[in-house]
């Protein structure tokens, strides 16, 4: 099949600036141009059927028939060269280390605030800051055991961190199932390309969760909001792969500040909870009293040190967009190292100097809510109408501290199957970083792709799809 070349000025993962195929994509490109259109169409149908049967579906509320929706899966993998991955890996390790140090610091000694690197208001007035976490000693001083770091590659060919997800990052099951699907559909491809395996992720996660407790043989469970949650498939998948119980709030209870699960032979104590429920819903006695998902008394048990939550409560303060600009400073402050991964330059509208710049350059900037997520409530300057821009100008003037602004980055593109054939589409990358006795990750991550032509929004809630992510074991081929 023919591969459409990218627009000029964009970084494409497969083609270089002269439209030559990059060396680490050669095997794949060769396969693509030699593949028959009908065969590929057939394989796409097969993938669809297999995903339906696996039950990797999204739950969509309010629809009668077919409430299960699939996240579109694209058959063309995204390839990362071994040298790129080396750099990403050290950068991610460094970054997550610094973020965990930061979280420990702001709930204990406040060194970074005392040193004047971040001002106190930024930290303590942040709605995600949990005063109740102060002076709570956590095993190994770890807060974010599982982090998902969103990266993009810019025009200049460099990776930038777009966002740190330190609460309940999801999507890892797609990384694993996408790989399994590709190996099933195109085993011959894997014989030719030295693709690094990812399927030991559940084993690493299990190791990380057991290391989160100082007990010798801790009982680990996954706490899910239940089967109507859009990530339920992932919760069940990980529980099965790790051989731990998948529990809902109603399966747990707290007695004498200890957490137990209700089993067929009576109560069994739980030591580590990999929770996929937000802070506020964990304990109706401490957070949202309406929460039906949580466990009454859990917070007390946690404060008593009788159970470990992964991730810890109160990690949200460190992945907030208003804290994001300080991550490079954190790395310098705690680790005494220069940041390996780039941050996107960010203007903080609460600072008069920054606000002035932002107001003058609105048509070229992206403006985001400091607390928003999921691609909502943002302004993409170059694509916005005059009316939208003036609307945001008013918002910024009224509540400058609610917003940050960044230059419009163009996400790199990668060949993707679309209706008219194979064409470039924008994508990002979310590797998953595990912190236990040491910081580890599997070579890969979740690649999300915006399926609409020209679109930069990769979120699955807004028409994004996923790809298998290949990290090559060596760059010789």
């Amino acid at each position: 099949m023919l591969i459409k070349t990218p627009e000029e000025g964009l970084y494409d993962e497969l083609f270089d600036l002269n439209n030559r195929v990059r060396p680490h994509y050669r095997t794949l490109e060769n396969w693509l141009i030699n593949s028959d259109e009908d065969l590929i169409a057939e394989k796409r149908r097969e993938a669809n059927v297999l995903f339906q049967r696996l039950g990797i579906t999204f739950n969509v509320y309010g629809q009668d028939e077919g409430t299960d929706r699939l996240i579109p899966f694209d058959l063309i993998p995204r390839v990362i060269s071994a040298s790129d991955w080396q750099k990403l890996q050290s950068g991610l390790r460094q970054r997550v280390n610094a973020l965990n140090r930061f979280l420990h610091d702001i709930y204990h000694n406040f060194d970074i605030v005392r040193a004047g690197v971040i001002n106190a208001e930024q930290v303590f007035a942040n709605p995600q800051y949990q005063p109740g976490m102060q002076n709570l000693k956590l095993p190994r001083n770890l807060y974010s055991h599982i982090a998902g770091i969103d990266l993009i590659r810019n025009n200049d060919g460099d990776f930038y961190v777009l966002e740190d997800n330190l609460r309940c990052p999801s999507g890892v099951s797609y990384m694993l199932e996408n790989r399994r699907m590709m190996m099933r559909l195109f085993p011959e491809l894997f014989a030719e390309a030295p693709v690094a395996p990812v399927d030991h992720y559940p084993a690493l996660l299990g190791e990380t969760l057991r290391a989160a407790s100082l007990k010798p043989n801790p009982t680990v469970v996954i706490l899910t909001p239940g089967r109507f949650n859009s990530a339920y498939f992932e919760h069940a998948f990980l529980a099965r792969q790790m051989g731990v119980e998948l529990v809902e709030g109603a399966d747990l209870f707290v007695r004498k500040n200890k957490v137990f699960m209700k089993t067929t032979i009576g109560p069994q104590q739980v030591d580590v909870i990999y929770r996929r429920i937000d802070d506020d819903f964990l304990d109706p006695l401490a957070g949202n009293p309406q929460s039906m998902l949580g466990v009454p008394g859990l917070y007390g048990a946690y404060r008593s040190g009788n159970v470990v939550l992964a991730n810890a409560m109160g990690t949200g303060v460190a992945d907030d967009k208003s804290i994001y600009p300080y991550v490079p400073d954190m790395i310098r402050f705690y680790l005494n190292e220069e940041p390996i991964l780039k941050n996107v330059p960010t203007w903080q509208c609460r600072l008069p100097k920054d606000l002035k710049y932002v107001l003058e350059h609105l048509p070229e900037l992206v403006v985001k809510e400091a607390q928003g997520a999921g691609g909502y409530g943002m302004l993409i300057g170059p694509r916005a109408s005059k009316k939208e821009i003036s609307h945001f100008r008013d918002l910024l003037k009224a509540k400058p501290h609610h917003y940050i602004a960044q230059p419009t980055l163009s996400l790199s593109t990668c060949p993707t199957f679309v209706d008219e054939g194979i064409a470039p589409r924008h994508l990002d990358l979310r590797p998953f970083v595990l912190s236990g006795k040491k910081v580890q990750m599997v070579p890969g991550g979740l690649t999300r792709v915006a399926l609409k032509e020209g679109s930069l929004v990769v979120n699955s809630s807004q028409g994004g799809g996923t790809k298998d992510t290949w990290v090559l074991e060596d760059d010789l081929c």
Binding site: F233, R240, E245, V247, D251, T264
Partner: protein, 312 residues
Amino acid sequence: MLSRDAASLFWMARYLERAESQARLLDISLTMALIDVPEDREEQLSVPLLVTGTAEEFKELYGDVTPQNLIDFMLLDDRHPASVFNIIQSARDNALHVRGNLSADVWDSINLSYIEMKELRKTGVTESNASQIFDWTRARSHIFRGAAYGTLLRTDAFHFMRLGTFIERADTTARVLDIRHKMASASQDEHATRSFFEWTALLHSLAAFEAYQQIYGHNILPLNVAELLILELDVPRSLHACLHEIVALLELVESGDARKARRMANSLYANIHFGDRDYIAERGLHEYLTDFLERIQAISGQIQKDYMGWQV
């Protein structure tokens, strides 16, 4: 294991067993109605409604007892909680709950039944293709069983699932036997062939016709049928076989202090294991089965209390 997971596995298996037996029942009734004399056709068709206790509901939704109405009601109607469609959906809901305890193969077997059933509802089922659907339902059930036996760890998850299967199966066998026996005895005097048909239908709907032939020869006598379906340990759907499994499974599951369900099951098992045809004849088959049904339901309730109910 988690109590809630035990409950989900128990019910998942009950529903899947129910889907299969419902398809068998309906299949036999439709076939028998074809050979029956016209004036008895409606009675024949009503058997699945009587066994499942849904005659009233059917009347309200459909009125006339015709083969097509019966097919729609018992297989596809989403207004009817016990239609095969809804049963499979409930089984899948429970399976979804306990995906962490199921192998990929078992999940796939249930999920695929659900996906295909949804397709089937779109195309609809008529008298002419109904038998294919019955074959399909049976085949799906076999695939689930094969996947479960072939791929699941023999832990409590497996045992609770099987408990659900055998409780449901015992319940179904007793009900079908009771209803068919009633119909056969009513027509015995006036119509010898009619009663022969009834007994044949009964054996077919419990997949035991060939077993009868092998053990008793082709001469069908009511008490032989009762003996076969109640006392014969080697017949997979007999009450004896079901209780045998239930008692063994209750020994296998980790029980803590729970003894009551085990005691009740063992007592009922002893009653059958050491029972004989004369005792059944003396008591009267209907009374015997009524008593059995009450006790098996009590055992089911007690299992749920002992292992799945929670008061903190």
